[in-house]
Each structure stands twice: as structure tokens, then as C-alpha cells.
């Protein structure tokens, strides 16, 4: 999508999403398990997954980079 020109740095920034996701998952579990149980946590993560599915469907290549594809 962004090409190799600055791909390393761009990927490095996007990689922060995994750290965020990991911390978010921990916070989610800690705040919900005692009150609602694991079932609720898993359902929320299911909802997040389907939201990601919906988001990828409208992802488009960059306009200012001709070789950009998704």
C-alpha cells in the first residue's frame, strides 16, 4: 500500500498497533471478567473482529501512489 520507499519506518509505526492491541486486551479482560465473565470478553473481541472485517472491505489504495494496492 505504501511501497518500499519508507516501508520500514511506516511498518514500524503500524507495528505499534500490536502493542496497543495487547494492552487493550489486558485492560478489557481486567475490567470485564469479574463483573460479566469471560463470555462477555470473548463476545466483545468477536465484535471487534467483525468490525475489522467491515473496515477492510472499504480500504482503498492510496491516490497519490500509482502502484498502491490492497
Amino acid at each position: 500500500m505504501f511501497g518500499f520507499k519508507a516501508g520500514t519506518i511506516i511498518y514500524g509505526i503500524i507495528y505499534s498497533a500490536f502493542a496497543i492491541a495487547s494492552i487493550l486486551g489486558g485492560m478489557l479482560t481486567k475490567s470485564l471478567v469479574k463483573s460479566f465473565g469471560y463470555e462477555t470478553v470473548f463476545k466483545i473481541m468477536a465484535g471487534m473482529s467483525i468490525l475489522a472485517t467491515a473496515m477492510v472491505s472499504i480500504l482503498k489504495p492510496l491516490k497519490n501512489y500509482d502502484e498502491s494496492t490492497v
Binding site: 500500500m1 505504501f2 511501497g3 518500499f4 520507499k5 519508507a6 516501508g7 520500514t8 519506518i9 511506516i10 511498518y11 514500524g12 509505526i13 503500524i14 507495528y15 505499534s16 498497533a17 500490536f18 502493542a19 496497543i20 492491541a21 495487547s22 494492552i23 487493550l24 486486551g25 489486558g26 478489557l28 479482560t29 481486567k30 471478567v33 469479574k34 469471560y38 463470555e39 470478553v41 470473548f42 463476545k43 473481541m45 468477536a46 471487534m48 473482529s49 467483525i50 468490525l51 475489522a52 472485517t53 473496515m55 477492510v56 472491505s57 480500504l59 482503498k60 489504495p61 492510496l62 497519490n64 501512489y65 502502484e67 498502491s68 494496492t69 490492497v70
Partner: protein, 438 residues
């Protein structure tokens, strides 16, 4: 022996998988210049790296990669193969990052919460050990290529592996969760960030036409390490397979936790040393070739500023957060979840489940990346997230399984569900990496 056979079988399978043409890495066309083979970064990549985190650095460094005449003498293959083997061995240690999901249950009670107290029924603060490791790795990764250039791949691998091993050793002496995280998470993440790409960087130089083979062989170690050391760790800390009562083990299990970490750290250090000794680079030829080869053409793509100002970048960031949370969180909490159901009881069983999940973690990176190469990012990401959706909605049913499993057995009754779920963990890495460079 069975464990060793499984690891070797996985290694061989992935190697064959790569050799059969399912390249996971950019199949770059090469431009011959006098007696050297030099990458031309401007030529279009036929495939794109499907593996996630590290490869970006290595890819950038490939622009100056050179292969010497030794290839003609048949030495390249040997040294390249040794570099793969070295990477495999060292990644057995680095891949233990995912063992925490299993080890967390053995950690002493004073390492569960930041305030050192014991709270029942509440997920522990120790859940943050893995996320902080990722965070540290994220921060260090951009600087790893500078380390490679300064001291070479072999020494970088040794440095990274030994930092990781030292982190585990030092963590064994910590009595508070904060200090434990500073060592086991932060230091380990630093070591992981430095050492992860080093063997691939070296292997790609020796075998530029077999990058898939190189990364596949190395990553087999990453998945295998999580599997192997999850079981070894459980065997050390809980040799008789005692099951927790009310979510807690007897004191004797917790008392063995520091010794387990120290023992494992020795394994990690030895594996890192062996691995780094096997990894080498054609450095002399590289330096001379760099000066004589034709100048590289411009690499296409957008700048960082252009990327950050596009909505697609932030859209992707959010997509990754939403899709990765499920797998990353489940890796850490699966044992606590299993503790809520009698049918999932059995410490050995749970350790085995986590280990198999780690195997899927390694192989899943290859599988989903290849699928993405074949059918495209959108379709494969859609399949992944829908699969993850189904697994998340049905995960709870594993604790009301009708299959009888005696306590302390290693019944496989619930393994498919667990393993498939854990399979989803690494896929977002692959996708994010691939779509970034497309």
C-alpha cells in the same frame, strides 16, 4: 524425544514447503554486476513478505546485500544453510515470548499484582507482561538495523539472544511485579528487537534466491520454541503435574518458579550462542561489491509524512488493533479461562495446549501470508477475521465439552478449538506487513 521429533518435523515440513515454490518473501529479480550479484530494489517484487515484524528492517538492508563468488564454489549453500540452522536455534529461545501465557499461572502470588497483594477472582496485573514486551520490541526494532550494520548479524543475534536470556535470569530474582516487568518484559523485548531479524538478514545474503526458505526455517524455530519451552518449563516448575485448587498451586510450585527461569535462561543463552556461531555473512565481498556495483535505482513508495497524512494509514492501524486484540489477549488468559471449567483442568493438558498454540503461531504466519499472496489481502483478511469471529463466539463452549477428560490427562478433546483460536494470533502481523509494502 517426541517433542524433539515434532520440532524437527515442523522444521523439515516448513523447509519443504518453502522449497516447493511457496515463497513467502519477495522474489526479487537480480542484476548481475561483474562477479557479484546485486539486488535491484527498483525491480518489482513478485511476492511480498508475508512474515511480520522483523522483515521490514532486513528488507531495507537487502538493498546493499551482495553475494560473493563463493556461491559458484558451492560454499554459499552450506553457509546459508548453517545460517538458517543458527537462526532456527536462536529463535527457539526468542520464541519463548509466548510461554508467558503458560508461565503466568506458576508465578508467585507477590508477582501477580503491582501492589503485591493477593486478589482472588480478578485477572492479575501480570497480564501486562506480554504487552510490555511487545512495546519494548516495537521501540527497539527501528534501531536494530543500525546494530546489524555496526557489529554484523552474528554478533547482533548473540547480543539480542543474550539480552533476552539475561532478562529471564534477572527476572528470577525480582520480588515485585514492577521490577519483574522491567526485566522479563522490557529487557526481553529489547533483545527480541535486536536479535529477531539478524539471522534472516545473514541468510538472505547467502541465499538471495531462497528468501522464503531462510525465513521459513528461522520462523519454524520461533514457533517451535514456544511449544518446546512451554512444556519444559512446566516440567521443571511442576514436575508431578499437580493441578491448581481454586486457581492456586501449592507453595512448592511457586517456589520452583525462580529456578525454572534460571534454568531456562541457561538454555536460551546456549541456544543463542550456538545459533550465532552458525550465522555468518559474506562481509568482505559485500563491502568491495558495494563500491563497484552499479548505483541502485530509486525505490518506489510514499514518504512517512505522506503515509501519516492518509486516512488509509490510520484505518489500517485501527484494523490491526481490532483484529489482533483477540489472539494476543487469548494467549495470555487462556489458562485462567481454563481454570473456570472442570473439563479443562489439568496443568499438563493446558501447557500442551499453549505449546501447540505456539506451533500454530509460527506456522500460521507462513500460512496466512501465503494465502494473502494467492488470493489477495482483502479476501484473506476477511476469511481470517470471520474465522476469528466464529472462534470467539464458540470459545466458551470448550468448557462444556461433552467429551470426558480425566483430570491431569493430556486428552486432546479441546485442543482443536484452542489451537485454531491461537492460530489467529500472528496473522495480523503478516497482513500488516504485506499490505504496508504493497
Amino acid at each position: 524425544m517426541m517433542i524433539v521429533r515434532v520440532i524437527l518435523a515442523l522444521f523439515v515440513t516448513l523447509t519443504i514447503f518453502q522449497c516447493e515454490g511457496y515463497s513467502l518473501l519477495p522474489t526479487q529479480k537480480i542484476q548481475r554486476s561483474s562477479s557479484f550479484i546485486r539486488y535491484n530494489p527498483n525491480l518489482k517484487y513478485e511476492n511480498v513478505v508475508s512474515q511480520s515484524r522483523i522483515s521490514p528492517f532486513a528488507l531495507k538492508m537487502q538493498e546493499n546485500a551482495v553475494v560473493s563468488k563463493e556461491e559458484k564454489k558451492g560454499l554459499t549453500l552450506n553457509k546459508g544453510t548453517l545460517s538458517i540452522l543458527g537462526g532456527f536455534l536462536s529463535h527457539l529461545a526468542l520464541g519463548t515470548i509466548y510461554c508467558w501465557g503458560n508461565f503466568i499461572s506458576y508465578s508467585p502470588l507477590n508477582l501477580r499484582f503491582f501492589d503485591g497483594t493477593v486478589k482472588s477472582g480478578i485477572p492479575p496485573d501480570a497480564l501486562y507482561v506480554l504487552p510490555i514486551t511487545f512495546l519494548a520490541q516495537t521501540i527497539v526494532m527501528p534501531f536494530a538495523q543500525n546494530v546489524f550494520k555496526a557489529i554484523g548479524a552474528s554478533k547482533s543475534l548473540l547480543l539480542g539472544s543474550w539480552i533476552a536470556a539475561a532478562s529471564v535470569y534477572l527476572a528470577s530474582y525480582q520480588t515485585t511485579l514492577l521490577n519483574f516487568i522491567l526485566t522479563y518484559s522490557v529487557l526481553f523485548g529489547v533483545g527480541l528487537g535486536i536479535g529477531y531479524a539478524a539471522p534472516m538478514y545473514a541468510g538472505w545474503k547467502w541465499l538471495p534466491k531462497n528468501k522464503g526458505l531462510v525465513s521459513g526455517g528461522v520462523l519454524a524455530g520461533f514457533g517451535g520454541g514456544g511449544f518446546l519451552f512451554s512444556l519444559i518449563g512446566s516440567k521443571i516448575v511442576n514436575p508431578t503435574g499437580i493441578n491448581p485448587v481454586g486457581g492456586q498451586f501449592p507453595a512448592e510450585v511457586y517456589n520452583r518458579f525462580p529456578a525454572m527461569l534460571r534454568t531456562l535462561s541457561v538454555f536460551y543463552a546456549v541456544l543463542g550462542l550456538l545459533g550465532s556461531l552458525l550465522v555468518s555473512e559474506p562481509e568482505a565481498e559485500a563491502s568491495s561489491a558495494t563500491s563497484s556495483a552499479a548505483p541502485a535505482q530509486t525505490v518506489t513508495g510514499v514518504t512517512v509524512k505522506e503515509a501519516l497524512s492518509s486516512w488509509q494509514f490510520w484505518w489500517m492501524e485501527l484494523m490491526v488493533i481490532l483484529s489482533a486484540t483477540a489472539g494476543l489477549n487469548t494467549v495470555v488468559i487462556y489458562k485462567q479461562f481454563a481454570a473456570t471449567a472442570a473439563v479443562l483442568a489439568g496443568d499438563r493438558f493446558q501447557a500442551l495446549v499453549g505449546g501447540i498454540g505456539a506451533l500454530f503461531n509460527g506456522s500460521g504466519r507462513l500460512f496466512w501470508g501465503n494465502l494473502s499472496d494467492k488470493i489477495g489481502f482483502k479476501k484473506s483478511f476477511t476469511i481470517l477475521t470471520i474465522l476469528q469471529l466464529v472462534l470467539m463466539l464458540t470459545y466458551q463452549f470448550s468448557r462444556i465439552s461433552k467429551v470426558h477428560k480425566p483430570i491431569n490427562s493430556t486428552s486432546l478433546s479441546n485442543l482443536p478449538l484452542y489451537s485454531l483460536l491461537l492460530l489467529s494470533t500472528p496473522v495480523s502481523y503478516s497482513f500488516a506487513w504485506r499490505v504496508t509494502l504493497l
